[in-house]
Amino acid sequence: MNYPVWDISMGTGMLMALVAIIHVFVSHFAVGSGLFLLVSEKKAYKDNDTHLLEWLKMHSRFFILISVVYGAVSGVGIWFTIGLISPSATSMLIHTFVWAWATEWVFFFLEITSALLYYYGWDKLTRQTHLWLGWIYFISAFMSMVIINGIVAFMLTAGDWPDTQNFWDGFLNPTYGPSLAIRFVFSLALAGIYAFVTASRIDDPDVKAKIIKWANMWIIPAFILLPFIAMWYIGNVPTAQWESALGAMPTATFYADLIMYAAIVTFVLAVLAWFMARRVSFVYSMVLLLSALATMWSFEYIREAIRKPYVIGRFMYANGLLESPSDTDGGFSVEKIDEKGILNTARWIKYDHITEENKVDVGREIFRVECQSCHTVDHYRGIKNIIGAKKWDRGTIYKMLDGLDLMRNAVMPPFSGKDEEREALADWLAQVTSAPSQKQEVSGDGAQVYNTYCNSCHNYKPHDALFRRLKSWNKEKTMARLDSLPALFNRMPDLELSEKERSTLIDWAKEQFNGEKGK
């Protein structure tokens, strides 16, 4: 609300993912390849292996073209893009970690210089100097990772920082260690995977086989280690947050499944390549590269998704609003916006009061400043489809808006603003989703009632309160209780379920999870 919102129909989230994840895929390759080139060069000297040496010269050109060009520009690209998409969070991160970034810049500068000198120094420098440059490159690249990892991990698990705002509390946060381990080990695997790309183009099958096997020695052990480090990582993510990846949040759950398939495919392709090293083709190497990209893509996406509703853990919501008020929050905390209203807080909304005529337009503006950081109207996470599929009427939409922070494992920030502003947002949402003016009775069975009204907040799990209670209470008692949902729990919307809806819901719920006991 402090900054304007970049209003594009495709949504900014996908753009961010595209820029960031492809950058990360290259930058991790750049770190792992530092060690890979160094160790490979030493091996070539030790074994007096001219084939390996010749290939390394060729591979280092590929390395320069990918890491120094695309890696460096896309790294700057992340700066550009996060500034456009989450300016408040970017500003907050910069103010907290500017010296970490500045230190990283020093290593980045050394990294780029040593990489170029290493590449241009083949056949011109002594072996000792060439390896010395290789070491400078690798240590600088690794130090970049050591620093940036702290900031990225901080966004997921801010540790004690929201309370102390101490640099080290934020930097050395709970996922710092496992995140660094996972990234470094994956970077070593990527060094091997990228090596496949150039090795697959070698004409001599014996030389090709030798290099493919050497590259594989970086991939296979890394992929054996990664599941254990992943468990360490997951163990440091708060349990409630990790629930998002276990079914509660569609995006996180999808990528939690995908990462397993993609990692297994990558591992299997690498193992198979060991046995057919002479015949590994360029296409095969590209498939391996793509499956590794899918693995990394999923990892980063899960991290971003389980971070929700925050952009900075326990401090700032994805829409830039602050969780807790403070003297210096500029009025952009949820509590203060509830008091003062969106129109009196958001700087870039055209309207300063609501009338009957502008109500729907105001609703659109509210959607832009409160929801559009994650949702679009009809593209990525399109609200038109999400609400449209539920067939909610305008009144239900309005009621549901009060419980956003309970939905999908609490991955959304609460609606903040005055009641009349929630009305305006509901009006606009009703218009774009062509919502019926009156509540219409669900015609199908209990599953349909559940999917229409309950599954936004409840999980299809035996220990979920809905199933636990509906299974244990008798029907008559339950019918009466479901007549007034807020009496059951004051954050539940008063949905005014019809007698038929309540009855089918109870019957259906009782039949679920037979044999499985709720906790």
Partner: protein, 368 residues
């Protein structure tokens, strides 16, 4: 509503070091970035001119080859040195910079795409010097044009950043980020000012290739030094016209700063203008002599001083634009001593290691 001036609130967190430290680092790192950028962009244009001249004069084919081989490294330096000022700019002027970037979001985002394309273009030309062809000429000019467009988008963003009066109008006109800042009277002269500076400083960079080859191949060295020196002179002369245009396009209040109201500004501009004039005279004399090296070096160092002064002037202009909306001494400061010391030690160690790497590299390659 539309005419309202809207500026985001500054970040609520305190500055993690005193204001002056950030300002110093901003000016210093920007100076390094702009020199690298001038080398890269100017070299790109001059490489293309050399490419065209090579069709009639063979020696320019060699000059072209020797320039294009260096452009990718200059591009790497430009990008790497650009990260630091971008970082410090966000610390001090975040609420202005993010807003102007958002208003022109699509062109700003496309900078990245243009940059990748230009960079790969320069590399493909650098790696293909042995087969100089029409295609390479086209790729070179295409890359140079992309850098030209990037510079133009930067000028749009940074002029808009300094004029918050435009924010609300432009954003509400098109919140999708398809905007530029073409109405700003300073935009064109400012951009041309940077373009000519790139050509002049790029000329000096090309000339240094002559300095390093003087003993090895005197005739070639003199040709390339003269080529660079002449372009330095032409563009610096043109700068007197464009610079005056740029100056006159500034708001009256800003102009007055350089007419005595601000001592640093007035001195910087006066010394800068006189320094540029003297550099032209020295360079002209040097180019007429048998051994222009000494004069060329003097002109180059003097230009370095002029560029440094212009960087200071630029900061004074920015402050004068934003002074109504921005009070630097209002920042809370809570210095993060631990990490600041780590940065300073890393910075000093990094500079030392960087110099050592280059010395070792050039020492060993000179003997091979």
């Amino acid at each position: 509503m539309e005419s309202k001036i809207i500026i985001p609130a500054p970040d609520p967190l305190a500055l993690p070091a005193p204001y002056w430290l950030f300002l110093t680092l901003l000016v210093l790192t920007f100076l390094l970035h702009i020199i690298a950028m001038n080398f890269m962009f100017g070299s790109g244009i001059l490489a293309f001119i050399a490419y065209q001249k090579s069709k009639s004069e063979e020696v320019f084919g060699r000059i072209y080859e020797s320039i294009v081989k260096k452009i990718p490294t200059l591009m790497a330096a430009t990008i790497t040195l650009g990260v630091a000022p971008l970082l410090f700019l966000q610390v001090l002027y975040g609420q202005f910079f993010y807003t102007s970037s958002l208003i022109i979001a699509w062109p700003w985002f496309f900078v990245l795409i243009f940059l990748v394309l230009a960079y790969y273009g320069f590399y493909s030309v650098a790696f293909s010097t042995h087969k100089k062809s029409n295609l390479m000429g086209w790729i070179l000019i295409f890359s140079v044009v992309l850098v030209f467009v990037i510079g133009f988008i930067y000028s749009n963003n940074l002029t808009l950043m300094e004029t918050p009066q435009q924010y609300a109008v432009k954003y509400h006109e098109d919140p999708s980020g398809m905007n530029l800042n073409l109405e700003d009277p300073t935009l064109i002269p400012r951009f041309l000012h940077f373009l000519l500076a790139s050509l002049a400083v790029g000329g000096l960079f090309i000339g240094t290739i002559g300095l390093y080859n003087w003993e090895k191949d005197n005739a070639y060295a003199k040709t390339i030094l003269t080529f660079g020196g002449k372009w330095f002179n032409y563009s610096t002369m043109a700068q007197f016209i464009v610079g005056t245009w740029f100056m006159m396009s500034l708001p009256r209040e800003s102009i007055r700063l350089f007419m005595g109201r601000d001592l640093t500004g007035t001195l910087s501009l006066t010394i800068g203008v006189i320094g540029a004039a003297i550099a032209i005279i020295i360079m002209s004399k040097a180019l007429k002599s048998d051994d222009p090296r000494s004069g060329f070096k003097k002109a180059a160092w003097l230009t370095g001083l002029v560029v440094a002064l212009m960087t200071v002037i630029r900061e004074i202009v920015r402050e004068s634009y934003l002074k109504t909306f921005y009070i630097s001494h209002n920042f809370d400061v809570d210095t993060q001593w631990g990490i600041l010391i780590i940065f300073l030690v890393s910075f000093a160690g990094g500079v030392w290691l960087w110099i050592k790497m280059l010395r070792v590299y050039f020492k060993e390659t000179a003997t091979t």
